[in-house]
């Protein structure tokens, strides 16, 4: 019983993760990531 409940939670979290990822992609968040990652990140380097 407990095992089933835990597995259900796991599955729900997995589906939520996939769903969030898909929703983020659908609303164009990959572009935000690309814009940031495709230019030299001055903060990361310690420049600005």
């Amino acid at each position: 019983m407990l095992r089933n409940k835990e597995n259900r939670i796991r599955l729900l979290v997995l589906l939520a993760g996939i769903g969030m990822c898909a929703y983020g992609i659908a609303r164009g968040e990959m572009l935000i990531v690309l814009r940031k990652a495709a230019a030299i990140c001055l903060e990361c380097c310690g420049i600005g």
Partner: protein, 294 residues
């Protein structure tokens, strides 16, 4: 012991190959430029700075901050969804097997210098620091702290991340004259942080992963609920403590197999003289525990 020697390079090899694969834009190291192609919109599951000249993919912690610190901040569904999916599947196994900075710290720890043992109480308190870093520097500060134009920064990357200093800061400043001229006190601060991290890694096993890494903190939240679990066969376990002694993250796997500090490197599994530990899917692990309890 022989078993350990046979297995040890496997994880190191995986870490090394993964590290090279995600930093495969080798031309960048010659020209002082970074890869700007379409692969950069995908995140890797471990820490790897996207300012590294070789980086082919995006760092998830940097990408998350990019979403939160945008002029019109967006909840980072894409990155958080990706990390949640990875976290619920394998938990902190990513830290143990697919993190280049983790590998660098492990190699530094092999330098034969006297090792430092952090008192248990201090160690326990310090371990919570990474959760504070995650909440404040990765989520709240990029959302809240903005200048008069509404511009925010990736605060973790800017102030705390030694990975960016090592993978991006050093090669780019060495190769690019303009960046060299622009480097000032912030660069000195990040180099100091990096030097501290390197020095600490020689005497403490993976200090950045234990105390600072926000990505490790995020994955740690899923350890109890991840599909991949460390299985303890209580019928075989004699509580000899071999697994706890083998664990360099100071976890006692026999007592806390789901600990958020376990990076699932497998050292405990190899060290157990009674083969009482193994990795398995969560349902099987639970099943085994329940069978033993009855």
């Amino acid at each position: 012991m022989a078993e350990r020697k046979r297995h040890f390079p496997v994880r190191k090899t995986v870490q090394g190959i993964w590290g090279l694969a995600q930093n495969g834009h080798l031309a960048g190291f010659l020209t002082g430029t970074i890869y700007a192609g379409p692969l950069k919109q995908f995140c890797v599951p471990g820490m790897n700075c996207y300012a590294c000249p070789g980086a082919l993919f995006a760092c998830p912690i940097g990408a998350m901050q990019a979403s939160f610190s945008a002029r019109r901040p967006k909840f980072a569904f894409y990155v958080l969804g990706f990390l949640t999916t990875v976290g619920v599947l394998v938990g902190r196994m990513i830290c143990g097997w697919l993190c280049l900075f983790g590998l660098i710290q492990e190699l530094l720890y092999r330098i034969p210098v006297p090792k430092l043992s952090i008192p248990k109480k201090a160690d326990r308190i310090l371990r919570y620091l990474k959760y504070v870093v995650l909440v404040l520097f990765v989520v709240l500060f990029p959302i809240i702290l903005r200048d008069e134009y509404g511009v925010s920064f990736p605060y973790f990357c800017k102030w705390l991340c030694p990975v960016g200093a090592l993978e991006g800061g050093i090669p780019l400043v060495l190769l690019d004259e303009t960046l060299r001229q622009a480097a000032h006190w912030l660069y000195a601060w990040k180099m100091l942080l990096l030097a501290l991290c390197i020095a600490a890694s020689m005497v403490i096993y993976r200090p950045f992963c234990k105390y600072i890494c926000p990505l490790g903190a995020f994955y740690a939240l899923f350890q109890r609920f991840s599909f991949l679990q460390l299985k303890v066969n209580q019928a075989r376990c004699t509580h000899c403590g071999s697994c706890a002694r083998a664990c360099q993250m100071q976890v006692n796997p026999a007592e806390h197999p789901c600990s958020g500090e376990c990076i699932r490197c497998g050292a405990c599994v190899r060290a157990c003289p009674h083969q009482a530990l193994c990795f398995g899917m969560a349902s099987q692990a639970k099943e085994a525990r329940m069978k033993e309890a009855t």
